[in-house]
């Protein structure tokens, strides 16, 4: 026990003396949290909007005015011709072009039917889809108002019954994107920092040759590993704490669930990450190699974690793969507990799976550590 304590003490000394590493551990993750939570959003805003008005009537102007009033669209230009509009889109100056046909108002009154031309830049497919929805909403809304204006008294009897849906957004009432992203980004930084540091740590001893010196001493492998990895467990928990404080202070993310449960889950989760880190360092000889492999896995784990893209929309084989992704469970648990207030029983499946991962990863890591040295 005394030996483990001494190694832990030594490890902390080395971490705090490493002037290059210290800011990476504590400052960069927080910058990441603040910047990514604000920037990584799927809300499509400030859509550059252009239109070609071939009608020039009050109705067409009302329609354009509707777009102008919307917060999503920046109405930029009134194109005199379709050709100019297309070249402008080619240059990336506009995202959406609305073409109002000639005699729009007259045909609408006469035939109660007309069509509009919408061109959307769909290089970013997801954004184009969202833009389409916005445009449809505005046009539909315009349509409703128009009906009222154009209806004559005699038509009142045949007014169609419309069904209106009023959605209630549970757990995130205002659809605030940050509320959704902050717990996820928190997961990201706890994972990245603990994985990179633990992965590089034992390799470092290998690199500078002290591991060989240690191996000649009577110290037990378990003592050495626990002593080396425990500081990173502490750092992981520390990062979670700082992250939660920032989430509350800066982003005002609701924390409905129990903090104790969050810490309990995280403490098991970090064990998985430390196991992976140790496993990586057993198969590498330099810090660079360890870093590279750690990066490779983090990128895959993060992109397949449901942090940025919903797992439900992945192909089936990828969904099966995500079952083996510890980050997925961490993201789920953080979101469930923080936003929904899930209890211990609700996240029990995730806890069991994570515990299993921790057991397997650390088992593999210790086994391979014995084999390679």
């Amino acid at each position: 026990m005394k030996i483990i304590l001494y190694i832990i003490q030594k490890e902390f000394k080395q971490i705090f003396r490493n002037k290059g590493m210290l800011p990476i551990i504590f400052v960069l993750p927080l910058l990441q949290l603040v910047i990514l939570s604000n920037a990584a959003t799927f809300e499509v805003k400030n859509i550059k909007f252009g239109y070609i008005d071939n009608d020039h009537t009050s109705t067409s102007r009302t329609l354009v005015e509707k777009f102008n009033a919307s917060t999503y669209f920046d109405v930029l230009t009134d194109f005199p011709s379709e050709g100019l509009a297309s070249s402008s889109m080619l240059n990336g100056e506009v995202d959406v072009v609305l073409e109002i046909p000639q005699y729009f108002e007259r045909d609408l009154q006469k035939e109660k039917y007309n069509s509009l031309g919408i061109t959307i830049n769909a290089i970013d497919g997801a954004a184009a889809g969202v833009e389409n929805v916005y445009v449809t909403q505005i046009v539909q809304n315009f349509n409703q108002n128009l009906k009222v204006d154009l209806l004559q008294v005699s038509d009142k009897q045949i007014q169609p019954i419309t069904i209106e849906t009023i959605p209630l957004f549970w757990y995130n009432e205002t659809l605030n994107y940050k509320t959704f992203m902050v717990p996820g980004i928190l997961v990201l930084l706890v994972t990245m920092i603990t994985l990179f540091l633990s992965g590089m740590n034992i390799v470092r001893e290998k690199e500078i040759g002290t591991l060989e010196q240690i191996n000649v001493t009577p110290i037990k492998k378990s003592q050495f590993i626990i002593g080396k990895l425990f500081p990173f467990w502490v750092i992981g928990i520390g990062l979670l704490t700082i992250g939660l404080i920032i989430a509350k202070l800066i982003f005002d993310v609701p924390m409905v669930g129990s903090l104790v449960l969050m810490y309990f889950y995280t403490s098991i989760y970090i064990l998985v990450i430390l196991g992976i880190g140790l496993f990586i360092s057993n198969f590498t000889d330099t810090q660079q190699q360890a870093m590279f492999i750690a990066w490779f896995f983090t990128v895959i784990f993060i992109l397949m974690s449901g942090l940025f893209t919903p797992i439900e929309s992945m192909p089936e084989w990828a969904q099966i793969l995500t079952e083996f992704n510890p980050i997925k469970y961490f993201v789920e648990v953080m979101r469930m507990v923080m936003l929904k207030g899930s209890s211990f029983i609700d996240v029990l499946p995730q806890i069991i799976k994570t515990f299993l991962f921790a057991f397997i990863m650390n088992g593999l890591a210790v086994w391979s550590y014995k084999k390679t040295t």
Binding site: I3, T210, P218
Partner: protein, 300 residues
């Protein structure tokens, strides 16, 4: 016997690092392992310090088998690898404390053993190990290897890359440690250090060439050996190599060590030959063989 090695062989894939090595080191002996780089010295050290398992053969250190009793060996040996490997970002004192703790002891407990060496680096005890000079680093490493009072001390090329003054100091320290009852196995590529050992083993390409005291090893060298000197060293070596009766020609400091094939070697004859090669200031004199000469002869 402090160390016994019998029929140890080790190969890495296609390279045979050690081939059928056997020797013994007596209690309280300063034993030198002399050989060029790549001879297999480090491999042998790693086997004896339980870091590596030999393909064949057995070995014991301080009475314990290197495979079955490896835990006991780790408690009773000190190992100083060739590359300086202490924590560069910890101070001198912290490094020493760290190694004392993992051996389950304290600096105070064995202070008398390291005192001689530690007093030299004590003024810098709050300095980071990475900021020490080469000689200081080496003294610190020796302290760390001694802190748990080992019975056997393994030093793998301790003086490589160290200045001549520090080298001499280091060997004086080893002599003092030996007096305190520690068996020392030291490897070095420097032949001049070999003379300071009680016994030496000459090793090359994974094979032991000769084991004996330094004096006895030199006596094995039977041929008379001559120091040759001239105004142009390069041309001298070339000319001697071209000489039909030469047995061996090795540059040795400001001289060339020369031996002849014939029993009735005549110095004047050689001088005349060298003069025909346009060399001047020629000096030829008989000299005593060194360990290096023996090594070169055996390695031939």
């Amino acid at each position: 016997m402090s160390i016994t090695i019998s029929n140890i062989s080790k190969s890495y894939k296609n390279v045979k690092a050690l081939q059928d090595i056997s020797f013994e080191v007596k209690e309280n002996e300063l034993f030198g392992l002399i050989g060029p780089d790549g001879a297999g010295k480090t491999t042998l050290f790693r086997i004896l310090t339980t870091l590596l398992i030999a393909n064949e053969g057995t070995a014991t250190v301080a009475g314990f088998d290197v495979i079955s009793d490896y835990k006991m060996i780790r408690n009773s040996v000190g190992y100083m690898p060739g590359k300086f490997s202490l924590y560069q970002d910890l101070t001198v004192e912290e490094n020493l404390n760290f190694f004392a703790t993992i051996f389950g002891t304290t600096i105070e407990e064995n202070y008398d053993l390291i005192k001689d060496i530690y007093v030299q680096i004590e003024p810098f005890k709050d300095r980071r190990a990475g900021k020490l000079s080469g000689g200081m680093k080496q003294k610190l490493a020796l302290c760390c290897a001694l802190i748990h009072k080992p019975k056997v001390l393994f030093l793998d090329e301790p003086t490589t890359g160290v200045d001549p003054v520090s080298r001499k100091e280091f060997w004086d320290m080893l002599k003092r440690l030996q007096q305190k009852g520690i068996t020392i196995l030291v490897s070095t590529p420097y032949m001049d250090e070999a003379a300071l050992c009680d016994r030496i083993a000459l090793i090359q390409a994974g094979k032991i060439l000769e084991i004996d005291t330094p004096k006895a090893i030199v006596k094995h060298y039977s041929k008379p050996i001559y120091n040759v000197r001239a105004n142009n060293m390069y041309q001298l070596i070339n000319s001697l190599n071209d000489y039909e009766y030469n047995h061996s020609v090795y540059p040795f400091g400001e001289f060339v060590h020369y031996t002849d094939k014939r029993a009735d070697f005549n110095q004047k004859e050689l001088k005349m030959y060298l003069e025909t090669k346009n060399l001047t200031d020629i000096e030829i004199e008989k000299t005593i063989a060194t360990i290096e000469d023996t090594f070169m002869e055996l390695a031939k």
